[in-house]
Amino acid sequence: MSLIDLSRVSSPKLPRADGLIPWIVPLAIILIWQLACVTGFVSARVLPAPSDVALAGWKLLLSGELARNIWVSFWRASVGFLIGGSIGFSFGLANGLSHLSNKLTDTTLQMVRNIPHLALIPLVILWFGIDESAKLFLVALGVFFPIYLNTLHGIRTVDPQLIEMGRIYGMTDGELFRRVIFPSALPSIFVGLRFALGIMWLTLIVAETIAASSGLGYMAMQAREFMLIDVVVLSILIYALLGKLADSASRALERLTLSWHPAFQKH
């Protein structure tokens, strides 16, 4: 902590340089990779040069194929996430607030949780075929558990002293939830959110590689059929960027809602 603070104090005039530091390592990797390919150290049949990958991306972009596939994958990811996330959040709230609900459903959910959801792919294909609902189902199922578990944990670990304080000051159940329980559970809910975002991409890519007729995963599989390694690498890089984007979005949301938290305070 103190080291970070010191560096902030010593370089207050370089906020732009500060923002660039995290990108030094990825850029260096791309540079070394390009050099290795150009000098022939790595064969183009094993790993195409970054410039070739960029070229392949440019071609796909011009044909409209890239944008369409990214959009399809993005749509599947967000709809699946919204469905699974809201169900997980509701169960987390219900089981955190009500003992009856917890007794009724928690054991079942814990059993289901221990089934790797990707193991359901054969069954899901039999049920839904290879259309959209199969992908949405898998993403929703994968996202459900981290959100559920962390919401439940957040609500369970609310400081009982604060709840007692709320009661003394005459808060109703609704006010107690809004002013004490929910804000207190929020940091834990965000942990669940970020786990869920990771699982969301993982599930979607696996589902799209196995059973799909569009999307990024499908694009990568098609490229493999035709030995287009540059497109395969392009797909992988896009996954990395999309993952980073989702993570940045959740971090921004965290900073916005958790500004009270000492870990998010700017000095």
Binding site: Q161, L162, E164, M165, G166, I168, Y169, V180, W260, H261
Partner: protein, 281 residues
């Protein structure tokens, strides 16, 4: 005089000094403050947790606007008594009466921990103390004046996390004061503070008690603090009131004076007498 004597109820433990001395002292306050405090009568109070009987018959009468300290060893039941008065526990048997017109907002508690909401700014934390009136249009103005009272008006838009321990406790005091309570119960409110902060907090507590005229009940393990702040010190032992000292020393009290030290010594001696083995004190 006649009126003062009426406060001596038959079941109460007798107070060493005549009550009119206390009444006379309280008369020096503003008339508004005088009328605010509630008197408190406890009769035959028992409290058990399972088989463990914590309070074994407490009879007590506290005058309106009086400041009473409750001292005792840890586990003697002093905090339980306070929590029963504040309505945080259910009574096993006996009665606690605060007068017929007492409302839940009239009694407020301050704990050893400030118990502030970390996600609410200082001013919102104080507004919590208004109870059901926190949505009224003057809520903010009242919270601000409570913050002025504890000397933290400039911290109104800070997060609690950036305040020091003493400042947090002052915000908690402002939150307790904002609804203008008629009884204020303190459960070791200064227990977690360093020595210098403690002394300035004691002065602050004494001042707001004097200005606002609520009935103050202070549970503490610090006998010096009890004699510095209270009109009356109760020693609790084995779930009963073992001793009832009247602190008849005029305010403002000189910290470290011989009178206070003598009384403190007497109370400590009384506390230590209970057992042969003093190592567990």
């Amino acid at each position: 005089m006649q009126e003062a004597l009426r406060f001596l109820s038959p079941g109460a433990v007798p107070v060493h000094r005549a009550d009119f001395v206390e009444r006379a002292r309280l008369l020096r306050r503003s008339p508004e403050a005088q009328a605010r405090g509630l008197s408190l009568t406890i009769r035959g109070l028992h409290k058990s947790f399972g088989d463990n009987e914590v309070l074994r018959g407490i009879d007590l009468h506290i005058l309106a606007g009086q400041s009473v300290a409750i001292v005792g060893r840890s586990g003697c039941g002093k905090s339980t008594l306070l929590r029963l008065i504040a309505g945080l526990e259910t009574i096993t048997s006996g009665t606690i009466s605060l007068g017929e017109d007492a409302r839940p907002e009239d009694i407020r508690v301050m704990f050893q921990e400030p118990r502030l909401l970390p996600w609410a700014r200082v001013l919102s934390n104080v507004e919590v103390g208004l109870g059901r009136e926190r949505n009224s249009p003057d809520a903010q103005a009242r919270a601000e004046s409570a913050l002025v009272e504890v000397g933290l008006a400039d911290k109104r838009s800070q997060w609690p996390a950036v305040l020091s321990g003493g400042q947090k406790q002052r915000v908690a005091l402002a939150r307790a004061l904002v609804s203008q309570p008629r009884v204020l119960a303190f459960d070791e409110p200064l227990g977690a503070l360093d020595a210098l902060t403690r002394i300035s907090m004691q002065r602050l507590l004494e001042r707001v008690w004097h200005d606002q005229g609520f009935t103050a009940i202070l549970v503490t393990h610090d006998v010096a603090e009890a004699v510095a702040l209270a009109d009356r010190v109760l020693v609790i032992e084995d779930g009963r009131i073992a001793e009832d000292f009247s602190v008849d020393i005029p305010r403002p009290r000189q910290r470290g004076s011989a009178e206070l030290a003598a009384l403190e010594g007497a109370i400590l001696k009384n506390l230590l007498e209970g057992t042969e083995d003093t190592s567990d004190l």
